[in-house]
């Protein structure tokens, strides 16, 4: 079966720095995979490559059957690849509900003229979108918070709002960049079950970057480990945990210490 997301030989350099080299991944439909590695390993850069923010120097990226190389980020997003950002990038001056509704724009059928005339078709679509957006907020545990400005939400809720916004794109594949960063242990527990529920309820395939090893090892069925832009190990949680290359990458080589 065609993987939901496929990458092969993906590389990018920034000046002299090989930020990602020769990356490979086949995320199956419905899979929940993890991507880990020390700071600066190239994880976020990989997300930027997959979502078209950066264009790879080489390599192949496909979403289902669709070739993503050279497509604009907006086209990639609209075709079913959604993401969250490590350094939260919400639309701060907009309400939580409007943040979610922005992501629905790509799928709107009524055009500008209908918008200005407020035709019945426009009104129906607007109503349906609003209800859907509220449902997405509820799905991530933000029910009733739609009117609040994004910037006024507490940190953990902002991370959740990012997820709701990504879901509103109705993606096939969801990329989560350190969703647990800055959350307290209790919030992390909530997030853990949320990630599982999302995958099971919405037929999503998920790729998760996370520094919280407990979380990754627990929810991900497969883990890829990056270091200095290169894949140094891949396998189940149990496999990568004991991989000497992984241990060395995290603890540093004996000579360096």
């Amino acid at each position: 079966m065609t993987p939901a997301l496929f990458a092969r030989g993906v590389s990018i350099r920034f000046g002299g720095l090989a930020a990602v080299s020769n990356f490979e991944l086949a995320l199956p439909v419905g899979g929940l995979y993890g991507l880990i590695g020390p700071n600066g390993a190239g994880k976020t850069t990989l997300f930027n490559l997959l979502t078209g923010v950066y264009r790879p120097d080489q390599g192949e990226i496909r979403l289902g059957e669709r070739d993503l190389i050279g497509s604009a980020p907006s086209a990639i997003a609209a075709s079913g690849l959604a993401r969250t950002f490590q350094n939260i990038r919400l639309f701060h001056q907009l309400s939580a509900l409007d943040n979610v509704r922005v992501a629905q724009f790509a799928h709107r059928r009524t055009g500008l003229v209908a918008t200005l005339l407020r035709t019945p078709a426009w009104r129906r679509e607007e109503e349906a979108d609003r209800a859907a957006a509220e449902a997405w907020l509820t799905a991530v545990g933000l029910e009733g918070r739609g009117a609040e400005l994004a910037r006024n939400l507490p940190y953990g809720d902002q991370r959740r709002l990012e997820i709701a916004r990504a879901l509103a794109l109705r993606p096939k594949v969801l990329l989560l960049d350190e969703p647990a960063a800055g959350m307290n242990p209790q919030e992390k527990l909530g997030l853990r079950s949320l990630i599982r529920t999302l995958r099971d309820t919405y037929d999503l395939s998920i790729l998760l970057i996370e520094h919280d090893m407990g979380l990754v090892m627990d929810v991900c069925e497969h883990i890829t480990v990056l270091d200095h832009g290169e894949v140094i190990a891949r396998g189940t949680a149990a496999e990568v945990q004991v991989d000497p290359a992984v241990v060395e990458a995290y603890l540093g080589s004996p000579e360096a210490a």
Binding site: F14, T44, N48, V53, Y54, F85
Partner: protein, 308 residues
């Protein structure tokens, strides 16, 4: 042939003035990533400070014969005056906005620009009448090449401009201050962590950029002595073309600004001479659009990817 040479001379003279102004735009952009809209007004003030200073010495009176060192005094005086002003503007209007969205700084800069122009027009400042800059740079026909007279004033304008650019090259690539400037422009945060006094470097950048613009103002007024009133459209337009030069050369790139300035000067003067003298501004902006379309990072600029 005659005409080509003459046009070339004018193109280099005008182009080197653009280059001097463009340097200020590009240095500020390189460090703070915003367009200092008030920079064209600093250039204007350079010309008017020069005129006023000459007036203080009585050199603007009819029949006055300024001594040979007059140009030096006026040039250095105008440069120091605008350097102080550029420093002050950054302190008062831009520094408090250092972490604000860039659009706010841009608007503040437009405010400063309008403020300078409109205060400059007041009777207590320079008034609303155009003035005639006395010829402080000596002029004579140096020699003739196939019918073209190479004039001393043109040669001096070009010489001073190139001299100042060489001095700037030395400042940026040969001194500790220049090293700090390059560090801040590469990555201000890291530079600050490494102990570079970012605020002082920014101040210095504004002072140096403003002084260069003032020099451009002096040189421009020496070549074209009719100086327009402070709020006249020509000033903004000249500043704008210098900014275009910075963009065409690659904004943030010092050598790019020099090259861009000369290129814009050539395009404008050759266009004016051989196509139509009335559309000189149109050529410059057409070139800008062309560059933005095919090479948005400018001729010498490198395309950079914004970190996400």
């Amino acid at each position: 042939m005659t005409r080509v040479l003459q046009t070339l001379m004018d193109g280099v003279a005008v182009g080197s003035t653009y280059a001097l102004i463009a340097l200020g735009y590009t240095m500020v952009y390189g460090i703070l990533r915003f367009i200092n809209f008030a920079h064209s007004d600093i250039f204007m003030l350079g010309a008017w400070f020069s005129f006023s200073l000459a007036g203080v010495f009585g050199w603007t009176l009819a029949g006055a014969t300024p001594p040979p060192w007059a140009a030096v005094v006026v040039l250095l005086g105008a440069m120091s005056g605008t350097a102080v002003l550029g420093y002050a503007i950054e302190r008062v209007a831009y520094r408090p906005l250092r972490s604000a969205p860039r659009i706010n700084v841009l608007i503040a800069a437009i405010g400063v620009s309008l403020l300078i122009e409109n205060i400059g027009q007041l009777p207590i400042a320079f008034g609303t009448q155009p003035q005639r800059m006395p010829s402080l740079l000596p002029d004579a026909v140096l020699f003739e090449v196939s019918g073209v007279s190479i004039r001393l004033v043109d040669t001096l304008v070009i010489g001073i401009a190139l001299g100042l650019m060489a001095a700037l090259e030395w400042l940026i690539y040969g001194t500790r201050l220049g090293l700090a400037m390059r560090a801040v422009s590469t990555d201000a945060q890291t530079a600050a962590l490494m102990g570079v006094p970012v605020d002082r470097v920014v101040s210095a950048t504004f002072a140096v950029g403003s002084a260069l613009a003032a020099a451009a103002g002096f040189l421009y007024a020496s070549k074209y002595p009719g100086i327009n009133q402070p709020a006249h459209a020509t000033w903004i337009l000249l500043g704008l073309k210098a900014f275009v030069a910075a963009v065409v050369g690659g904004i943030g790139n010092v050598r790019g600004a020099m090259a861009g300035g000369l290129l814009i000067g050539m395009v404008e003067i050759f266009g004016a001479a051989y196509l139509s003298p009335h559309l000189r501004d149109v050529y410059v902006f057409a070139l800008l659009i062309l560059v933005l379309l095919v090479r948005p990072a400018g001729l010498l600029g490198r395309a950079t990817v914004e970190k996400v």
